[in-house]
Amino acid sequence: MLEIKNLHASVLDIDDSEILKGIDLKVGKGEVHAIMGPNGSGKSTLANVLMGRFDYVVTEGDVLIDGNSILKLRPDQRAHLGMFLAFQYPAEIPGVRPWQFLKAALDSKADANGEDKMSVRNFSKLFDEKIEAVGINPNLVKRSLNEGFSGGEKKRNEMLQLEVLQPSLAILDETDSGLDVDALRIVAEGVNSMRSPERSFVVVTHYQRLLNYITPDVVHILVKGKIVKTGGPELALEVEKDGYKQYMAEAEVNA
């Protein structure tokens, strides 16, 4: 599904700003991978680089989806391939309704893939179902996209989009930050209900607590732009207990 080969990335237009320093990672179909790391380790950068954010430049390495490089693709083309990024800080867009936005997103994808667009009626039905499923306040979706949403509301709105767009690869960028336990549970339930042999997840998180609800197949520890350790779900518990200190020391030694 997703394959990352020796990925190096820097901030655009800034010298000596390398954040990702050679990442190798393979996520198979239906797998859930967690990427954990301390602040500044580059985990959010990795999530954004995968989706093609403008502020970063890939200096070396490659990212493949189903064996094809996606580095030259624009973010919308990546989305059409079935990629989805749940943002840590979703942008606020005045005057644009979530409904309108999601319909347009689905239509674009259908267009790009030569499929029929969903009718307004079917879309509305789907939309309403998902609103209920995600437990988002129906009044919220009548407002402008993310504008004046609380942190938790923004995250739920991201989950709503995830549910509607049904991607084949979902990357969750610190979706758990700023959520109370109820919201966390909803996010986790959303992810769990969407787990399928055809869908992969990359869950980027600082804390282990989300992983109490979503059991990953593989856990990676990212420190200073490199994956320093890979293991099973037990790795997350280790981090919970001992923190990142030991890995940071290792990274120091390896650097």
């Binding site: 989706m51 093609g52 954010r53 403008f54 502020d55 624009r74 973010p75 919308d76 990546r78 989305a79 059409h80 989805f84 990024l85 943002f87 979703p90 942008a91 606020e92 867009i93 005045p94 005057g95 644009v96 309704r97 409904w99 309108q100 936005f101 999601l102 319909k103 347009a104 997103a105 689905l106 239509d107 674009s108 994808k109 790009a112 667009k117 969903m118 009718s119 307004v120 009626r121 879309f123 509305s124 979706v141 009548k142 402008s144 996209l145 989009q161 767009l165």
Partner: protein
């Protein structure tokens, strides 16, 4: 009627051919206030088709209609003013009024009083190199019926999405179609007449309702008002006239569609709308012109009179030819629009300005009566070499008067966009309230966005709020939308229409859809 026809000024016409075109294509441009899908689905289960794709790269309304034209000689003189008046068969008093206006204009021209305070830059206009009267042959007299109208012209309006035949007429809209200097046809005149509503060409109003015209003409915009208003008063050719009797709520939208066709001609229409006590009317105005490399002058005047307890809602979609990408040609749009609101009356201007090489207009409200309300909602877009200096004046005279201004300026390409607005609180305007919000959006680094408010307070009890902001479409917003699969152009368009939403929602539904499309087409080449 089961079908609703959406008037479309894109050079394409929506026709009745069910199930070819999915209404959901329009979904991104829905602007109903509630859940966007619902109201539409309930009221309109049908689909609509259109002849061709909406996204083109050129001005789509640029075709020329081949009709024989009756032209007065170029240039302006007393003789021309007399000629226009006699062509229209006007009474002596109106001719006299025109001549007074003409003489005043000559004085202004000699004193070089053409306004220079606005932030627009254009080569001097040679007022002697313009045709002041251009009418399709045989149309000096307004046609009695559509059978008298040149089929070429009917086809023109049909192409513009404004079919004039009753059988095809727009549902819920009565149309006055103005071609160069004359009104070609007015639809639904008879049906409106049953309610006592007068909706006809200005020329017909002079003939059939001279008392009303005489009573109100020039009362809000006197011929001495400004350079272009004087010019208009001297040479105006046609326009629309509306009178809504006391207590009548006009059940349908009234619409005037202006079309400039003849090369080198100016267009000087004059519109007069009177809402008598307790009346209500919603009036729409649209305009286009052919693609020409030379510039064309349009100097119109609109007067609104809202008597006690009445309401006038005036919406404009201005899409005159904006000139070429390199700034050749285009319409010079110098317009004076003003309304007078009496006691408890309300006047609301909504405008979407995407066309014209130069836009100079300030739709204003004189809040004369106590408790009167004035509103101004505007989206003005300048791309390529377009320049717009537009805004409003809210003159608070009566007590407890209230005005709201929402202005959205979009600058792209090498365009320059200025909001210029005056809020004047006169000494007697106790407890006047104004809220002004001016937002500018810049697309690219070769354009300009300017805000020039004039806040003039002569009464200490007034409450005013003025806010302005300048922004650009952020990378963060673009990335977010693109990460969900929208192309860069779609993302830009969605952000910009969302940003303009506060204004679009003031437009009648079909107009709002069209306005969103117009923004999209007008911005092509500027984004992406």
């Amino acid at each position: 009627m089961g079908f609703k026809l959406i008037p479309d000024r894109m050079g394409q016409v929506y026709v009745f051919a069910p199930f070819e075109f999915n209404i959901s294509d329009l979904a991104p441009y829905f602007f109903t206030t509630d859940h966007p899908s619902r109201s539409y689905l309930l009221t309109n289960q049908n689909t609509i088709s259109r002849e061709s794709d909406l996204s083109g790269r050129e001005y789509k309304w640029g075709f020329v209609t081949d009709v024989e034209t009756d032209l007065a000689p170029k240039g302006l003189s007393e003789d021309i003013v007399r000629l226009i008046s006699s062509k229209k068969g006007e009474p002596e008093w109106l001719l006299e009024w025109r001549l007074k206006a003409y003489r005043h204009w000559v004085k202004l021209a000699e004193a070089e009083a053409e306004p220079t305070w606005s932030m627009i830059d254009y080569p001097g206009i040679d007022y002697q190199d313009i045709y002041y009267y251009a009418a399709p042959k045989g149309m000096n007299e307004a046609p009695k019926s559509l059978d008298d109208v040149d089929p070429e012209m009917l086809e023109t309006f049909e192409k513009l999405g404004i079919p004039l035949q009753e059988r095809a007429a727009l549902a819920g809209v009565a149309v006055d179609a103005v071609f160069d200097s004359v009104s070609v046809a007015t639809t639904m005149e008879k049906q409106l007449g049953e309610l006592g509503i007068i909706f006809c060409s200005f020329g017909n109003a002079v003939k059939n309702h001279p008392d009303l015209v005489k009573k109100y003409l020039g009362t809000v915009v006197p011929y001495t008002d400004n350079f272009f208003a004087s010019l208009n008063a001297a040479v105006f050719t046609d326009g629309s006239f509306v009178y809504i009797p006391p207590g009548v709520r006009c059940p349908i939208e009234l619409m005037t569609y202006f079309r400039i066709n003849t090369e080198g001609s100016g267009q000087f229409e004059r519109t007069l709308i009177i809402a008598d006590e307790g009346a209500y009317v919603s009036y729409l105005e649209g305009c286009t012109a052919p693609f020409r490399k030379s510039s064309q002058l349009h100097a119109a005047t609109v007067e609104l009179i809202a008597l006690d307890d009445s309401e006038i809602k005036y919406s404009t979609i201005q899409n005159w030819f904006p000139g070429t990408k390199d700034g050749e040609g285009g319409v010079y749009n110098f317009v004076t629009k003003r309304g007078r609101a009496d006691k408890n009356a309300k006047i609301s201007w909504t405008q979407v300005e995407t066309g014209s090489a130069i836009t100079w207009k300030y739709p204003s409200v004189i809040l004369k009566g106590d408790n009167s309300v004035g509103e101004f909602f505007s989206v003005a877009l300048t791309n390529n070499h377009q320049q717009a200096d537009t805004g409003t004046k809210m003159i608070h005279i009566g007590k407890n008067t209230k005005s709201t201004i929402v202005s959205k300026g979009i600058s792209a390409g090498k365009g320059n966009n200025t909001y210029r607005g005056q809020v004047l609180i006169m000494p007697g305007a106790e407890n006047a309230v104004n809220h002004t919000q001016c937002d500018s959006l810049l697309i690219g680094d070769q354009c300009g966005a300017h805000t020039v408010p004039y806040i003039e307070v002569r009464n200490p009890t007034a409450r005013l709020e003025h806010e302005a902001s300048t922004s650009k479409v952020s990378d963060e917003q673009l990335f977010y939308l693109m990460a969900r699969g929208l192309s860069e152009e779609e993302a830009h368009h969605m952000i910009i229409t969302g940003w303009s939403r506060e204004v679009f929602k003031e437009l009648p539904f079909e107009f709002a859809l069209e306005a969103a499309q117009l923004l999209k087409v007008s911005l092509e080449g500027a984004v992406g």
